[in-house]
């Protein structure tokens, strides 16, 4: 039971950066459509990379938890 709760919490924590990635990708699409400045697009792409790393870390935690 405790195991399941821990995993649920970890999944929730992994979902947050995943949500940001999705929305940031959406934002980049819109920026490109509207010829937004290149540096803004690059900043948003950098955030996607950060969130991918966060997400990866959270997935590793889930994996560790599942092994326990």
């Amino acid at each position: 039971m405790q195991q399941q709760q821990s995993i649920t919490k970890l999944v929730h924590d992994a979902r947050a950066p995943l949500n940001q990635i999705s929305m940031q990708a959406e934002l980049i699409k819109m920026m490109v459509e509207q010829n937004a400045p290149l540096d803004k697009i690059q900043q948003t792409a950098a955030k996607i990379i950060q969130n991918c790393q966060k997400c990866s870390e959270e997935l590793s935690k889930i994996s560790e938890q599942a092994r326990k």
């Binding site: 929730h12 947050a16 949500n19 940001q20 990635i21 929305m23 959406e26 509207q34």
Partner: protein
């Protein structure tokens, strides 16, 4: 463009949402807590709130509760991080609240806000309609003058006394008659006729009815308005314009409560309250033999003086917004008025009363600026019936003045009124331009 508030403690989510919303053309603000949200709501008016349910200093419900107390309630969409939370919140059945789940895509925002736009057209007008309390289902106004009118209507509605409505042209005499009828809780509709619009030959037939063949053209029998209004209310507008020789017939009906249709010998019992109306003053009625004294006392058992619009200028914003709401509804538009324009309307004396106000608003609505979505008032409010002009003249008159002096003064005042335009002044004075020039030359000499 909508004004949108995003309330979420996840500042990164709020920031991306804000950017997406700005890209699709909306004005966005961010709050990270209940306190922040309340602060924004106290200084700005929002069309929509995207709201996180769990906030560091309370729940999204606190924001909903606060927003529902505002004059202009924003539409609210709760944002949840998990589909399960969405269904739990949906089970709470909070009225008029939408739900979306993270991650929110551009299409999700657009779908929610387009609902908001289409709902805006209907719900705002509905809400606005609810804002106008119509007394007796037809009267608008909360000024002290109107409150005392409502009190009189309430009192007289309990009786079957005849009522005479007095007031300037355009004050809404027919609407007040309808209000009395509505307050009387009668099943049958009010029957109205305008005594001033009937020819001398037809007035008897209109009021009392006629039998078939009673006169040339009477191809069928017809019930008069008294008979039509049996067990209901009869509204006789412009009763003082009824020819004096027809008035004895009216007196007979009022006294005996029976009518004899033209060409008939049979008396028909009638039972109705008569509400009559005139724009003449009691002094005028009495001194100029306009209405027979006996008829006056029969009709004016309960006289009511309807206030002029200039006596209840506080009601002007309410009336203007009501007219605009009606016009917007009819033409599916969202035209409004600003405070400066309202001030201008309130500073005018409205000699034509509510009818003139409605006319001015209608014109301004047609002329409305499509960019600002606001009405466009004429630069100068003016009516040939304006009392301001009459006051100027009557103050200028003194007993013993020569006709020439009065005429000179009249021409001077008229020219001032039309900014020196001689053609217009001559037209207003009812003389030719040539005559006006001759007069002006004579004064110079």
């Amino acid at each position: 463009m909508l004004k949108v508030l995003i309330v979420d403690d996840d500042s990164e989510f709020a920031d991306i949402s804000s950017q997406i919303l700005e890209f699709i053309g909306h004005d966005t603000y961010i709050a990270n807590s209940v306190a922040d949200a309340k602060q924004w709501l106290s200084v700005e008016t929002f069309d929509h709130i995207f709201l996180d349910f769990m906030l560091p200093d309370g729940s999204g419900l606190h924001v909903i509760e606060h927003a529902n107390q505002l004059d202009k309630k924003p539409r609210i969409t709760l944002i949840t991080g998990h589909p399960l939370i969405k269904s739990i919140i949906a089970d709470l059945s909070i009225p008029d609240i939408g739900y979306i789940t993270k991650p929110v895509e551009r299409a999700d925002f657009e779908a929610v806000l387009s609902q908001n736009k289409s709902a805006k057209k209907t719900t705002v007008t509905k809400t606005k309609q609810q804002e106008f309390s119509q007394h007796f289902d037809c009267l608008i106004g909360e000024s002290p003058a109107m409150q005392s009118l409502y009190k009189m209507i309430e009192q007289v509605a309990k009786t079957n006394a005849n009522v005479m409505l007095m007031g300037e042209s355009g004050v809404g005499k027919e609407v007040v008659a309808q209000a009395i009828h509505n307050a009387s809780n009668l099943d049958k509709p009010l029957v109205a006729t305008n005594c001033g619009a009937l020819s001398k030959d037809l007035i008897g037939s209109e009021l009392f009815g006629h039998e078939k063949g009673a006169f040339t053209g009477a191809v069928a029998s017809k019930k008069g308005v008294f008979e039509q209004a049996n067990d209901s209310t009869l509204f006789l507008d412009e009763v003082t314009e009824m020819p004096i020789d027809m008035q004895p017939n009216l007196l007979r009906v009022l006294e005996n409560k029976t009518v004899v249709p033209l060409g008939s010998t049979k008396q028909v019992k009638v039972n109705c309250r008569v509400i009559s109306a005139t724009n003449r003053s009691i002094e005028d009625i009495a001194s100029n033999n306009i209405l027979r004294e006996d008829i006056y006392f029969r009709l004016a058992v309960f006289p009511i003086e309807i206030p002029q619009l200039r006596q209840r200028k506080d009601d002007i914003p309410l009336l203007v917004n009501y007219f605009l709401m009606q016009m917007n509804q009819e033409s599916q538009q969202n035209i409004s008025i600003n405070q400066q324009q309202l001030d201008k309307l309130q500073s005018y004396d409205w000699p034509g009363n509510v009818r003139e106000l409605r006319h001015v608003i209608h014109r301004a609505f047609i002329m409305a600026d499509t960019d600002s979505q606001e009405i466009v008032l004429p630069e100068r409010l003016h009516s040939p019936f304006s009392t301001q002009k009459n006051t100027t003249l009557s103050h200028g008159l003194t007993a013993g003045q020569t006709i020439e002096d009065v005429e000179k003064e009249l021409i001077k005042v008229t020219l001032e009124e039309v900014d020196g335009n001689k053609t217009l002044a001559a037209e207003m004075l009812g003389i030719s331009t040539k005559t006006l020039y001759n007069r002006l030359n004579a004064y110079e000499n």
